[in-house]
Symmetry: C5
Subunit: 355 residues, 5 copies
């Protein structure tokens, strides 16, 4: 039970990252395909029955966003081959636990990163891989999980005619997605921040093994967090530097904005790490203080005991001549002395600031 | 009560930094608009009733400084749209807890950073966001709080005709502001330095949990400090490298001066951090020394007790034949021995340097 | 026996790295030479009796892969001289425990790195040096150990006609090898990850000297791991930047893929290190907790003992007048008091949260 | 008294660095102006009564070195304005506790750094700011303290006709000064090195609070040292890279020499820091060893006491039938047992290596 | 005696590095001059009586290697002036404890570095400064100590006609020397590695103050080591980048080989440092374990003592009515109880895993 308290199961998940050897991605049970085909005035929005229905949109003169929720090898290959995506990118889309990265291959701009969610129940950071392919006039997105998604606000904005999102092309749509994903990192960090704060209060109030277990768990979640944020910083930086012709000059400014945010997220995650170090120091300090407290009790008891033991020993000796032995108040004087001496000792110690 | 002593509330404020998702900036209750419109000989200085009155200054051939204290979305948009500021910058101005940054967008140079104040009562570093927009012939500044401001010295200098500030254009005004803000960082650091110094004295005199709480608090304030200084260093560096045409060659030298100062502030904040590490080491050391002291008392008492207990036990045994039992001085010899042996022991220990 | 538990023998192997002074490589007892000579349609695959038989393949118009398992100075020199390999590279091939590196010398691209294996029995990471020489139309590989090899999957793929591997030239074969080797690093890391995980559980359950020994051992294996991964990252990066004419533009993409993987391996090895630090902290913490536990027992016993000792001492004094001495229930009251007082003390301590 | 032992006063001085807000430099009480006006054959050397007398040397065709010891605002301004020094540099000269820096402004090369002295009495590193202005045919130096100076060896060398210093121009003079200042850093470091060495011996011999205080003090001095050396390294590097036309190609080699020295000083200061860390580890270790020693004494005493207490208790019980109670040698056997058992216990413990 | 055990004398030597102020190099008592003048077919090898005899070799059309063992100011100046070496380099050759560096001055390539030796007796790393001057057709080497030398293998190789060393020019000779020196670093590191290994075994077996002293000593030797390796890495890197015309393109490859080795040496020295940190952790851990052991003994003894003391106290009370006091077996029951209770307690403790 102890190891589970410390989240050793989580360790397994963190350490078993293997991008190449076992791309045995389980085929999604459920696949959902949505298409938005729009220009500034008109918009078509529909859920398709299969990926095959998405193929004609390549010819659309409007901007098309094809979102595939749930990954099946066959589906991904059909659509990617039709849209002219390089086989290596298809492999990347289908791979498991890839490092976030950006690539420019044969006329498309490819971004692979993770959406992060905070699982309130398990108190863990969960990741869902998303691949965004920006091409001339289209954006393809591939998500792992059909049931959750960060893009609803984008869908709402898309429905408003003449909004900036509708006026600008596919690059602006791609920016909006990255922005949404990075913004969500802050939501996750906020949750982690709350946990750090609660832990700090807990550690200050009572430091026990449970607190240590929590600190250990949280450190693992922060590893997950940083592992995602650091490469995304590079990813967005690469987009800005790429000078890809798919990116309008006017859109570059917006990517810079995302870059500012992801840098801030990175800085913040560094602050989190500092906080965790402080927290661990605090924990150790508190455990030590408790030990000191116990040793002080030990000392006080020994000190209180000392004179009584000695006096009892003295007057318990079997000598014929013992002073005051026959005195009526002898016993009571001795007992009084047993009480008086420790009080004096305590007074001295307290004066010296030992207790 | 303990957690508040450790400033856990402050942790919340440090960790909840989220630049994008919740720009729910509270609308300022009070907005004050000041304008300085000057050239080397003439100056107009007035408080305006609304931002609308500030619009005509765009046509002014003199240098105009429009300072808006207190942020309301509507106001910011009116004036920025009139002055041709990019919508993204408007968002930045209105956002909360942004990372300091510098941007060149469509002919203006935009700086967003924080003014720092030291709150003597709460012993915390407070930040107020300021946006400085340097355009051709004008400087716009947006501050959060209508009631405090670092720019009074600048106002005074502006009133002096033919001063350098009056002779040079808007870029020199912008430099003066950054200089003022960075100079104020040193004031804040000085206060923190005083706190470190007091804490050091306190920790050396008596290390208790309260000291630890104070060290923890101060570490948090230093995080706030560094989080502000590090990006401002980059900000000023970017201005110098930008070769923006808004910046006169002669002014660049002055920005280099600010750069020197902010680098020094950064170095100093590193020294502060070193000091805090030393302080924590000192604290831990003192706590340990106290523990050692207590354990020594324990040992001394035990040592003093030992011979008396043994002797008392020996002569308390109920044997028929006990040497000296019938001797008149037996009791006193035994007690004397009880006193003599520990003294010898103490003498030995002291000689060996144990106490 | 203790030092062997701590793997001091392993320390010797880690520290005795000397690339230059003692290239006294033991001559391999067994040498096996395999040749694959292929183009997209046809393939020759045979085991040769001696390296001399491999010389004619230089004239082959198809792509030739000559793999030499087991290093003998004479053999290496014969083949390398025939294929025009620079003497320095021959030295590198024959050297022991070289740092992984890449070199472009006189028209060939030379990679020297280590294949890693995890020895389940000894729980160590084993390395086998491999040299890959990519030339115009041929790839030479030199391995140390004739009996193990990572390249079987490549051999299988080579047998499939018109596969990508068969269609592309020698550079693609070289990529496939590096990919295979780097992929195998992840397998080794997975094993180490499992060990870390087991150790974490063990340390949480019971921290003894054996755990410390295991932590120490594992730290050494991680040094071995990192020592191999870090330079391979540079190696692959150099290949990508080299713009060597041996590398087809289409192949560069694949090397970028390997680069992504090796970077991820590096990141992961950093996570491992963090985990090990956490683990060591945990170990120390647990050892301390155990000490505290023991000291608490000491204190409890002393506290329980205290009143009984004092009361026994009091009523054991040889005074004539001792209250209740002649009372029938005196003895039992005294003993009762001996039991009652410690119970009260314990109740107080528990209420204060000391135990 | 304790805080002063720990040098908290010094903390104040280290932390209160504020280059901009309070340039309330105290006006020097004493100002001394020296001029050397020389070429390879002839030299004029005189102490001037006021800075006004130094103005005509601007027209001198020989190389002029004007050294001003003691800073008064009026004096500095008179001479700088005459020599065409930029107002910002005048501010720098007059400022307090600036970070060392180098600047090229309007045809002069400006270096501001600190000369370091080791105050044997206070055992602190003292700094004196020096500004060196290298112009065409002249060098101006401004020092804070009229009474101490590092430049006497230069003065001596200047008096030798046809020496290299006399043959080369002002840039070589400037080099000689920097060389002298950097050389002096080594003298200061040597003193600090001696202190570290003494401290190491002291800590090994007897680690008490006084040692800790000394370690703390020394760490502060090392902060001062590093704060001066690190920016001077950049300063000299900037001079070499500057390709300023004031610097003869032949002189650059000499500046490289200074650069080598300052890098070595920097490396050495890193070694010092490592040494201090070792020292602190040693201190902590020794304090712990002492604690262990005391706890061992405690244990030995308790162990010695144990059997005697038990035996005494056994034979002190008031039973009618106590074996050997009436035996003549009973008492002596019991006491013998009291002595014998602890001896056996000690023998066992020692054999197990506990003491 | 303790401080010497900790090698405080060595601290002095490490910290007293002062390249500039005291070049009071002691004049060598013994100077030996060797000359090799060779081309691919012919060779002259002789020991000269004085440096003056070495001057004519400047005109030799063959490659000349003039090796001066033992430094005397006059000798160095004679030969350097004849060979056209810049005065600054002469100063460098004569200086003491310089940082390794490389310089290109007036047509020669100058390398100053240290040869390292491991002194088995003192268990220290000793350094001997060597200056290598590579000029057109000649190599000058200056060593401090006439009695030891790393170059015998080079001398042997030189005697073989038509060897590569004989065929190539002075740059190849220079490479061979650097290679020899760097190779020797590995020999020294191997010795240090053995020491680390022995220390590890020792620390695991028995951690006493002597082990700590050894760890401290070894850390100092590693500082010496790193101080030499790090700048040599830069030195060799500079040679490769220099594109000096003295270096044949074919030789550059060989310098790259040396560069690989020195980088590996650097990596290895980092591993050594990690090992030392592990070792120190191990030491601290063992000291703590010993303390825990002692405290456990203390606790066991106290626990054993407790019931006996209480029972003895109970039946030693002077009440009239004591149960079983008149019983024949009372005494034996009480003593039995004294033995029985601690056994039960121990059984409980052991079951809980406390001992």
């Amino acid at each position: 039970m102890l190891p589970s308290l410390f989240g050793t199961q989580r360790t397994k998940e963190i350490l078993k990252v293997n991008p190449t050897i076992m791309p045995v991605r389980e085929e999604a049970k459920e696949v959902r395909v949505f298409v938005f085909d729009y220009d500034s005035e008109t918009i078509d929005e529909k859920e398709l029955k299969s990926v095959n229905e998405a193929l004609p949109f390549l010819q659309s003169k409007r901007t098309s966003w094809i979102n595939i929720d749930g990954l099946r090898k066959a589906d991904v290959e059909i659509i990617c081959n039709h849209y002219g995506i390089h086989p290596l990118l298809i492999e990347d889309i289908l791979s498991v636990s890839q490092r976030p990265k950006m690539d420019e291959v044969e006329g498309v701009l490819f971004c692979l990163l993770n959406m992060l969610y905070y699982n309130e129940q398990k108190q863990t950071v969960e990741q869902e891989q998303i691949s965004i392919i920006l091409g001339k006039g289209f954006v393809l997105t591939f998500q792992e999980d059909a049931n959750r998604d960060l893009f609803n606000p984008i869908r709402e904005k898309l429905k408003i005619p003449n909004s900036k999102l509708r006026q600008r092309g596919s690059d602006y749509l791609c920016y909006t997605m990255l922005d949404q994903i990075v913004d969500n990192y802050f939501l996750v960090m906020e949750k982690l921040g709350e946990r750090i704060e609660q832990l700090e209060e807990e550690v200050i109030r009572k430091s026990n093994t449970r607190s240590l277990a929590r600190i250990n768990q949280l450190r693992k979640e922060l590893i997950i967090l940083k592992r995602n944020i650091a490469p995304v910083r590079d990813l967005v930086g690469s987009i800005i530097r790429s000078e890809n012709e798919l990116l309008d000059d006017r859109t570059t400014k917006y990517f810079k904005d995302v870059h500012d945010h992801i840098i801030q997220a990175y800085d913040l995650s560094e602050n989190y790490r500092d906080m965790m170090v402080s927290l661990q120091d605090l924990y150790i300090n508190n455990v030590n203080l408790k030990l000191n407290e116990v040793i002080k009790v030990l000392t006080i008891v020994t000190v209180l005991l000392a004179p009584a033991t000695v006096i009892g020993g003295i007057f318990g000796m079997n000598f014929d001549v013992i002073p005051s032995a026959h005195n009526k108040w002898g016993f009571f004087s001795a007992v009084g002395l047993m009480l008086f001496i420790p009080l004096v000792m305590l007074w001295i110690f307290r004066k010296r600031g030992w207790f």
